[in-house]
C-alpha cells in the first residue's frame, strides 16, 4: 500500500494537500477543483494559499483628509471641466433670463475637486451613458427628448425640465439625487424642489430633505409594507389624514405648489397657507382613487407653505414645489426595499396618471440593487427579475411616452467574507446585464453604476475609502455624493456627445456633401466619411455585382500586429461581402495568434528575425510589417494556409515578398510539395521583390528554402482566393510610430504595397506617439506626407482612413494619468486626415474618451499596461469600427 492506513495525522495532512493540488490541475469542472486558478496562475494561487488575507479595516470618511489629498493632486480636477466641453460644442450654459439662475459657490468647486480626487483614488471612472438609437438612421436616441427639453430651456418659450427618479433606498436618502439635482440646476437653472413627500415614508427614519414636517396623525402606507399598499401611486407611498393634520415646507424662492391628491367620496379639504395666510383650498371629494392635480400659486417672497387638512379623510401623496421660472427639477422617489417586483404593486392607473401629471422629460429607474440581493438569496432568478423590470419599463413608457427613459443599473455591492475580506455580489452584474438588454430593447438609455464605481469588486476600494456603509450596499453621504456626481457628469457627457452628433448632421445637410441628396448617416465617430466614397463604390460593386476584390491594408503598431483587431474586422466584412482569403502574413516563427485564422508558420535552420524597432539603422529594406527574416543557407520557412470559406474548386493566389540581392539565387519555393520554378534574370541589385504564384484549392503549404550560398531575406507571404471578396492585410510592428514607418526604404515599401493593390489604407498609429513628449509631435506630423506619398504612389486609387490612437495612460509616481501627448496627437492626426482627404475615426472617443482605457481594463477589455487591449477588447473595438464603417456605407448606398 502506498500510504499507511492507520490514523496518521501527518500523512493525512500530506495526502489532503496533495489530493487538493492534483485535483486542481486535472481537467475537471471547476466545482471539483479545490483551487480552480492553480492551473492558470500557479504562482499567484500558491502564494495566496499561504499568505494571510489582508483584512479590511473599518474606515470612516472622517479618517481620510480628502482636502489634503486634493492639495496633493491638484491636476486631477481638470479631468472633467465641463465648462470647456460646453464651449467646445457651442452650447454655453448661459442661463437665459427666464430661468432662475443658481449661483455656483466656492463649496461647489471644492466638492467637485474632492469628488474627482476620490474618483481617482478608488479607481472609479467617468463612464458613458449608453444612449441607443431609436431608428435605423439614428436620427433620435433614447435621450433625445430630454436633451431637446434642456435645449428648449434656452428658447423663447422655456418649459420646466422634470427628471423623475424612481428608485430604492439608494436614492431615498437623497445623497445621489441631491448632488445630481444641484449640478443639473447649476448648469441649467433651478426649477425648484420638485416632488416632496408629506412626511418621511418611514417615519422617524432617514433624512427630512425630501419631505415636509408633518404632524404625527398621518397614516403612512407603502408598497414595501408587509401588507402592500394596493392603492399606491407613483411614489409608492400614500399619506392619509383621518383627522385634521398639517405638513409644512420651506417655500423660499418657490412660486407654485402642485398637490397630488387622491380623491375619495366624502374626502376632506386641504387648505394651503403661505406664511400663515390662506392662498388656496383643495377639495378632495370625488370618485375613489381618482388622481387630481391641484395647483396653487404662492405669493412672491413666501417663506413657508403649510398644508392643513380638515373636514374628512384626506389622501395626499405629495406636493411638487417649483419655481415660477422654468429650470430643472429632479424628483427623488426612493423607497427602501423597492424592487422591480415591488414597484409593480403600485396601482397602474394611479401610477400612470401621476407620472403623466409630472410631465417628465426624463424618467430614471434607479433600481436593481435589491433585485441583486434577492437573487443572491435565490428568492428568484434573473429571468424573473428581468421580466418584472420589463413590466416596470412598459408602465413608465406608457405613462410618459414623450419622455426619455434611463435605467441606472445597481452599484457594486459587496459581501463580507468570513476572513473580513470583501467579495463582490455577483448578481449585481447579472442585473446590470439584463438592464442593458432591456434598455436597448425598450429604447432607454443606461448608466452602468457598477462600471462607474470601477467595475465588479470596486466595492472594496470604496469601503477602504470610507465611502460605504458596513452593509456594503449603501453609500455613506460622501459616497452618495460621488455617485451623484458621476451620474450627472455622465448625463452631461451624453448631452455633449448628442449635440456633437446632431450639430454635424445639420452641417452635412447644409453642405450637400453627401451624394444624391440622401439623408446622411448620423456621424458618430467617423469623420469625413465622404473621403471614402470611391472605396464604398468598390464595396457596392462587390456586394451587388459580386465583382472584384476589395483590399484593405492596415498599417500600424502593436494594435495591428496583435491581429485580433484586423482578424475581427476581416471577419465582419467577409460576413457581408465574402472572403477572398487571409492576405499577407509576415515571415517569422510560429505564432498561436495566427493559428485560429488557419495559418501556421514554422522556421527550421538558422534564422535571424529582426525588425525596424530593434535595428533602426540596418540599411537593408524592411518588409511591410517592418520585419525581415534572414535565413542562413539551408534554413527553411514553412507556412500553411487554410481558408475556412474556400473549397477544392477555388484557386489560390500566393505572393512571396522577399529581398532580392545581387549574386544571391532566388529562394527555392515548393507549394504542397511541388517545386515551383522561379524564372527571371539574375538579380543585379538589392531590392524588394514580390513573386506571384497560383495553386488550385484553398488549402496550401508553402515551403521556402535558402539554397545558399548567401543570406536570404524574407518579408512574408500572402494567400488569397481568386474570387470576389474582402482581403484585409495587417502590417503592424509593435512599438512603432508613423516616423518609424516613414523611415523605411520607401522604394521597397512601394513595390510591396503595389503588389497588394489595396483599395483602402487604414493607418493606426498614434498610441506610441501619445507617450512621447509634446515636442515630438512635429516629428510625427512630418512623417505623414512621406507615408502618403509612398502609399499613393503604390496604389493611387486607394482611399485612406486614419484611426486615432486608443486611450492610453502612463504611470507617474504610481498613479495612472493620461498619456502625456495624447490630446495633441489626436488633434494632429485629425488635422492630417482632413488636410489629406482621409476619413478619421476617433478611436479614443469610441472607447469612452479620457480615462476609458482604465474602464476597459476593469472590464477585462484592456491590459494592465493601460496601452494594449485584450483579445476581447480588440474584437469589441473592431466591431465598433466596422459597424460604423458599414453604417456610413449603407447611408451612402442604401440597400436596394
Amino acid at each position: 500500500m502506498l500510504l499507511p492506513s492507520g490514523p496518521h495525522i501527518g500523512w493525512t495532512f500530506a495526502a489532503t494537500i496533495s489530493l487538493a493540488l492534483v485535483l486542481s490541475v486535472l481537467p475537471l469542472p471547476d466545482a471539483l477543483r479545490p483551487l480552480p486558478t492553480l492551473r492558470e496562475s500557479p504562482r499567484e494561487t500558491l502564494l495566496a494559499a499561504v499568505t494571510p488575507p489582508t483584512k479590511k479595516k473599518v474606515v470612516t470618511p472622517q479618517q481620510i483628509d480628502w482636502d489634503a489629498e486634493v492639495a496633493d493632486e491638484p491636476m486631477v480636477f481638470d479631468e472633467l471641466d465641463l465648462t470647456d466641453v460646453e464651449v467646445e460644442v457651442e452650447v454655453r450654459p448661459t442661463v437665459s433670463k427666464s430661468v432662475l439662475p443658481v449661483r455656483r459657490t466656492a463649496k461647489d468647486d471644492a466638492d467637485a475637486r474632492r469628488w474627482e480626487v476620490i474618483i481617482r483614488k478608488v479607481e472609479a471612472a467617468h463612464t458613458q451613458v449608453f444612449d441607443p438609437c431609436l431608428d435605423a438612421a439614428c436620427s433620435r436616441t433614447a435621450l433625445s427628448a430630454y436633451f431637446a427639453s434642456l435645449k428648449a430651456l434656452r428658447s423663447d418659450e422655456p418649459k420646466p425640465v422634470r427628471v423623475v427618479t424612481i428608485g430604492t433606498s439608494l436614492i431615498a436618502s437623497d445623497h445621489i439625487t441631491d448632488t445630481a439635482r444641484r449640478l443639473l440646476q447649476l448648469r441649467h437653472g433651478s426649477g425648484g424642489l420638485g416632488f416632496m413627500f408629506v412626511d418621511r415614508p418611514t417615519r422617524n427614519a432617514g433624512r427630512t430633505v425630501r419631505s415636509g414636517t408633518a404632524t404625527e396623525g398621518w397614516t403612512i402606507e407603502k408598497i414595501t409594507d408587509e401588507t402592500p399598499f394596493a392603492a399606491a401611486g407613483f411614489a409608492g407611498v400614500g399619506f392619509t389624514a383621518l383627522s385634521p393634520q398639517t405638513t409644512k415646507y420651506d417655500a423660499t424662492d418657490l412660486g407654485r405648489a402642485e398637490l397630488f391628491v387622491v380623491q375619495q367620496p366624502g374626502g376632506g379639504v386641504i387648505e394651503v397657507l403661505a406664511d400663515g395666510r390662506s392662498v388656496g383650498r383643495v377639495d378632495t371629494e370625488g370618485s375613489r382613487g381618482q388622481h387630481a392635480l391641484e395647483q396653487v400659486e404662492l405669493p412672491e417672497g413666501s417663506k413657508e407653505v403649510q398644508l392643513r387638512t380638515r373636514g374628512g379623510a384626506v389622501r395626499l401623496d405629495g406636493v411638487a414645489l417649483e419655481t415660477t421660472l422654468p429650470g430643472v427639477v429632479l424628483d427623488s422617489l426612493g423607497l427602501p426595499g423597492a424592487t422591480a417586483q415591488v414597484l409593480l404593486r403600485e396601482n397602474p392607473e394611479l401610477f400612470a396618471a401621476q407620472l403623466a401629471a409630472r410631465s417628465p422629460s426624463l424618467v430614471v429607474l434607479m433600481i436593481g440593487g435589491n433585485d441583486a440581493f434577492d437573487m443572491s438569496l435565490n428568492r428568484y432568478d434573473a429571468a424573473k427579475g428581468r421580466a418584472w423590470m420589463q413590466q416596470v419599463i412598459e408602465r413608465v413608457k406608457a405613462a410618459a411616452p414623450d419622455a426619455s427613459c434611463l435605467l441606472a443599473s445597481p452599484p457594486d455591492a459587496g459581501v463580507w467574507r468570513m476572513d473580513d475580506t470583501i467579495t463582490a455580489r455577483k448578481q449585481t452584474r447579472e442585473v446590470a446585464t439584463y438592464m442593458r438588454e432591456l434598455a436597448e430593447a425598450n429604447g432607454c438609455a443606461l448608466w452602468d453604476m457598477q462600471a462607474a464605481m470601477g467595475g465588479e469588486g470596486a466595492i472594496a476600494k470604496w469601503w477602504d475609502a470610507g465611502l460605504m456603509n458596513r452593509d456594503l450596499v449603501h453609500p455613506l453621504a460622501l459616497g452618495g455624493d460621488v455617485l451623484g456626481y458621476l451620474f450627472e457628469t455622465a448625463l452631461e457627457r451624453a448631452r455633449v456627445t448628442h449635440h456633437k452628433r446632431h450639430g454635424r448632421r445639420v452641417v452635412a445637410e447644409r453642405g450637400q456633401r453627401v451624394r444624391r441628396g440622401q439623408t446622411p448617416p448620423p456621424r458618430r465617430y467617423l469623420e469625413n466619411p465622404e473621403a471614402l466614397a470611391p472605396f464604398f463604390a468598390r464595396l457596392r460593386t462587390l456586394e451587388r455585382g459580386h465583382i472584384g476584390r476589395v483590399s484593405i491594408a492596415q498599417i500600424g503598431a502593436s494594435h495591428t500586429a496583435a491581429h485580433f483587431f484586423t482578424d475581427e474586422s476581416r471577419r465582419l466584412l467577409a460576413d457581408r461581402f465574402g472572403s477572398a482569403g487571409r492576405g499577407f502574413v509576415a515571415a517569422g516563427k510560429s505564432s498561436a495568434r495566427l493559428e485560429h485564422a488557419g495559418v501556421t508558420r514554422s522556421l527550421s535552420g538558422t534564422w535571424n528575425v529582426s525588425d525596424a524597432m530593434k535595428q533602426r539603422t540596418s540599411g537593408l529594406p524592411w518588409g511591410l510589417s517592418g520585419i525581415r527574416a534572414d535565413a542562413q543557407p539551408g534554413a527553411r520557412l514553412v507556412m500553411s494556409f487554410e481558408e475556412p470559406s474556400g473549397g477544392p474548386d477555388d484557386t489560390a493566389h500566393l505572393q512571396l515578398h522577399y529581398l532580392e540581392q545581387a549574386d544571391q539565387p532566388p529562394p527555392e519555393v515548393t507549394i504542397d510539395g511541388t517545386p515551383v520554378p522561379i524564372v527571371g534574370p539574375p538579380a543585379t541589385e538589392t531590392g524588394a521583390r514580390v513573386l506571384d504564384f497560383a495553386a488550385p484549392g484553398s488549402k496550401h503549404q508553402v515551403s521556402i528554402l535558402n539554397p545558399g550560398p548567401g543570406v536570404m531575406s524574407l518579408y512574408g507571404l500572402s494567400h488569397e482566393l481568386m474570387r470576389p471578396g474582402i482581403v484585409y492585410d495587417a502590417f503592424g510592428l509593435p512599438g512603432s510610430t508613423a516616423s518609424v514607418y516613414a523611415a523605411y526604404d520607401q522604394q521597397a515599401l512601394a513595390v510591396q504595397l503595389n503588389a497588394r493593390q489595396p483599395d483602402l489604407y487604414v493607418f493606426f498609429f498614434g498610441t506610441n506617439e501619445s507617450a512621447l513628449s509634446a515636442d515630438r509631435i512635429e516629428e510625427m506630423k512630418a512623417a505623414y506626407p512621406q507615408i502618403f506619398k509612398t502609399t499613393r504612389r503604390a496604389a493611387p486609387e486607394a482611399m485612406c482612413l486614419i484611426l486615432a490612437p486608443t486611450d492610453r495612460m502612463s504611470a507617474k509616481k504610481r498613479v495612472w494619468k493620461e498619456a502625456e501627448s495624447i490630446n495633441e496627437v489626436i488633434d494632429s492626426m485629425r488635422q492630417i486626415a482632413l488636410e489629406n482627404g482621409c476619413a478619421f475615426w476617433d478611436t479614443r472617443e469610441v472607447m469612452g474618451g479620457k480615462g476609458s482605457i482604465d474602464v476597459w481594463r476593469k472590464q477585462n477589455l484592456a491590459h494592465r499596461d493601460h496601452v494594449h487591449l485584450t483579445p476581447e477588447g480588440y474584437r469589441k473595438l473592431a466591431g465598433e469600427f466596422i459597424g460604423e464603417l458599414l453604417r456610413d456605407y449603407d447611408a451612402w448606398s442604401p440597400p436596394p
Partner: protein, 474 residues
C-alpha cells in the same frame, strides 16, 4: 486570520510538523507555540498584543507577590484585588468607556445641557473580554491557592495568547493549560484523528450550516425587519438561535480540535444546550467556560444561593446582567443579560412555589412545557443580542406584533438550511460517535478525500453571504 481560511490551514500543517519535530525539548516547543500565537494574532492587528503583554506582566508580578507572602492573607488579597482591578480597568477603558461617555451625552441632551461627548476612537482589541476573564481567573486561582503563582513570563504570555483560543475562547483555567505546558505532550494516532474529526465537524457546522442559514435569511431579516411578516421574523429569530449555536460551537470544535493536535485538551464549551428543559439547565450547557467562570468567580463570591432567597435572586440578576454586558459595549447586551437574569429569577421563584422536580422525575409534559418556555425565552432575549441597534430590535418586536403570516420571502435555500440545522442538531450521539470512529479508522486517502470533499462543498456555498465568527466581536 480565521480558522477556516486556506492560509491558516496550510500554516497549521507546517506548525504541526515543526511542533512535533521539537516536542521533546520544552523551551523550543513553548517558544514555537508562543511565536505562532503572536503571529496568528498579529495578522489581525499586532498593537493589542501590548495589552496581552501587559496582562501577562501583571499576572506574573501578582503571582510572584502572592507566592512571596503565603501566610499574609491581607497582602495576598490586596495584590489580588489590585490585579483584578487593573484587568477590569483595561477592559472598561477599551470596551465600555465610550459607551458611558455617550450615555452621559444622551442624558445631558435630555436635560437640555449642551455637551458634546468626546469620541475616544479606541479600537476594540480582539479577544479582550476573553483575555480579561482568563487573566482574572488566574489571579484569583493563585489567591485561592488553586495554582502556583510562580510562572515565567513565557508561560503567562502563552497562557493568554495560545492561538486556538485567543480570539474567542474557550476561557481557560490554569489547570486547563498553564499547568500542562511543561508536560511533554503526546499525541496518539487515535487522539490525532479525533482532533482532526473535531476540526472537520466544526468547519462543517460553521461553514455549511451557520453561514448558509445566516446569510440566506437571518441577516437580511434582522437588518430590515419591517420588510418581513411576523412569521418570517419568528423564523429569523429561531434561525438565529440555530445559527449562533452552530457558529460558536463550530468555532469551539475547531479550537478544541486544533489544541488536540498539539497534545492539549481544552474543556468542552457546549453540551446540547437546546436539549435543556429549563433555563438553568440551558446555562449549564451553553458556553460552559463562561458560565462556569461566572459561577466560580462572580456568583459564588457574591454568596451564590447560600444566602437568603432575596440575595440569591439579587446575585442571579447581577451575574447575568454583567455576563450580558461582558459581550459588548452596548446596552442591548445588558438588556439581554438582564432578561436572562429575570427569566432565571422567575424560574427559581416558580420552583420555590411548585417545587423543583427531581432529575428524571419531571414527566414528559412538564419537560416539553419547560423546553418550550426555555426555548422561547432564549429566542426572545436574543433579539436584543442580535439586532444591530436598539431601533432595529424595537422594529423587530413591533413587526412581531403585527401577527402577519406571509412566508413569501423564505426561500427554498432557507427552508433547506433550517431543516439541515435541525436534523444535524437532533442526530443522536451514537451516530456522531460512529462517524468519528469511521473517520478515525479510515485509510489516509479516504480521510483526505473527505476533507477535500468538505472544502469543495464549502466553496459551493461560498456565494451565500457569510459573516465572521459571531463571538469574534466579544
Amino acid at each position: 486570520m480565521s480558522f477556516h481560511t486556506t492560509p491558516f490551514l496550510v500554516l497549521l500543517c507546517v506548525l504541526f510538523a515543526l511542533y512535533w519535530a521539537i516536542a521533546r525539548w520544552r523551551l523550543p516547543r513553548l517558544w514555537l507555540l508562543l511565536l505562532a500565537s503572536l503571529g496568528f494574532y498579529a495578522v489581525w492587528n499586532p498593537l493589542p498584543l501590548l495589552l496581552y503583554l501587559f496582562a501577562a506582566l501583571v499576572n506574573a508580578a501578582a503571582g510572584r507577590l502572592m507566592e512571596r507572602y503565603p501566610k499574609d492573607q491581607a497582602t495576598r488579597k490586596t495584590v489580588m484585588v489590585v490585579a483584578v482591578c487593573v484587568h477590569l480597568a483595561v477592559l472598561v477603558t477599551y470596551k465600555y468607556l465610550q459607551l458611558l461617555i455617550n450615555t452621559v451625552g444622551t442624558v445631558s441632551g435630555w436635560l437640555h445641557l449642551t455637551w458634546a461627548p468626546p469620541q475616544l476612537g479606541l479600537a476594540h482589541p480582539l479577544g479582550l473580554s476573553f483575555l480579561t476573564f482568563q487573566a482574572i481567573g488566574y489571579v484569583v486561582d493563585v489567591y485561592w491557592k488553586h495554582t502556583s503563582g510562580r510562572r515565567s513570563l513565557l508561560h503567562q504570555l502563552l497562557f493568554l495568547t495560545f492561538f486556538p483560543r485567543v480570539v474567542s475562547g474557550p476561557i481557560l483555567r490554569a489547570s486547563d493549560l498553564l499547568e500542562k505546558l511543561d508536560h511533554r505532550p503526546t499525541l496518539s494516532s487515535f487522539d490525532g484523528a479525533q482532533a482532526l474529526f473535531r476540526i472537520t465537524q466544526g468547519l462543517a457546522k460553521k461553514l455549511l450550516l451557520a453561514d448558509v442559514l445566516g446569510g440566506s435569511f437571518v441577516n437580511p431579516v434582522f437588518s430590515n425587519p419591517t420588510g418581513y411578516s411576523a412569521l418570517e421574523c419568528v423564523i429569523a429569530a429561531v434561525g438565529y438561535t440555530l445559527q449562533l449555536y452552530f457558529d460558536f460551537s463550530g468555532y469551539s470544535d475547531i479550537a478544541i480540535g486544533i489544541a488536540g493536535l498539539f497534545g492539549i485538551k481544552f474543556p468542552e464549551n457546549f453540551n446540547k444546550p437546546y436539549h435543556a428543559t429549563d433555563l438553568f439547565s440551558f446555562w449549564n450547557r451553553w458556553h460552559l467556560t463562561l458560565s462556569t467562570w461566572l459561577r466560580d468567580y462572580l456568583y459564588r463570591p457574591l454568596g451564590g444561593n447560600q444566602g437568603s432567597k432575596l440575595q440569591t435572586l439579587r446575585n442571579t440578576m447581577i451575574v447575568m446582567s454583567l455576563g450580558g454586558l461582558w459581550h459588548g459595549g452596548d446596552w442591548r447586551f445588558l438588556i439581554w443579560g438582564a432578561l436572562h437574569g429575570l427569566f432565571l429569577v422567575l424560574w427559581r421563584i416558580w420552583w420555590w412555589v411548585v417545587g423543583k422536580p427531581k432529575k428524571g422525575e419531571s414527566g414528559l409534559l412538564r419537560d416539553v412545557a419547560g423546553w418550550f418556555v426555555m426555548f422561547n425565552a432564549v429566542v426572545f432575549a436574543r433579539i436584543f443580542f442580535r439586532a444591530d441597534n436598539m431601533t432595529l430590535a424595537v422594529d423587530m418586536f413591533r413587526q412581531l406584533g403585527t401577527l402577519t403570516t406571509s412566508l413569501a420571502r423564505v426561500s427554498a435555500l432557507t427552508w433547506g438550511s433550517l431543516v439541515a440545522c435541525i436534523v444535524f442538531y437532533a442526530l443522536p450521539k451514537p451516530l456522531f460517535d460512529k462517524s468519528q470512529a469511521f473517520f478515525v479508522r479510515s485509510p489516509v486517502l479516504v480521510r483526505a478525500a473527505l476533507l477535500v470533499g468538505l472544502a469543495l462543498l464549502v466553496r459551493q456555498f461560498s456565494s451565500i453571504e457569510s459573516q465572521p465568527y459571531i463571538y469574534l466581536q466579544y
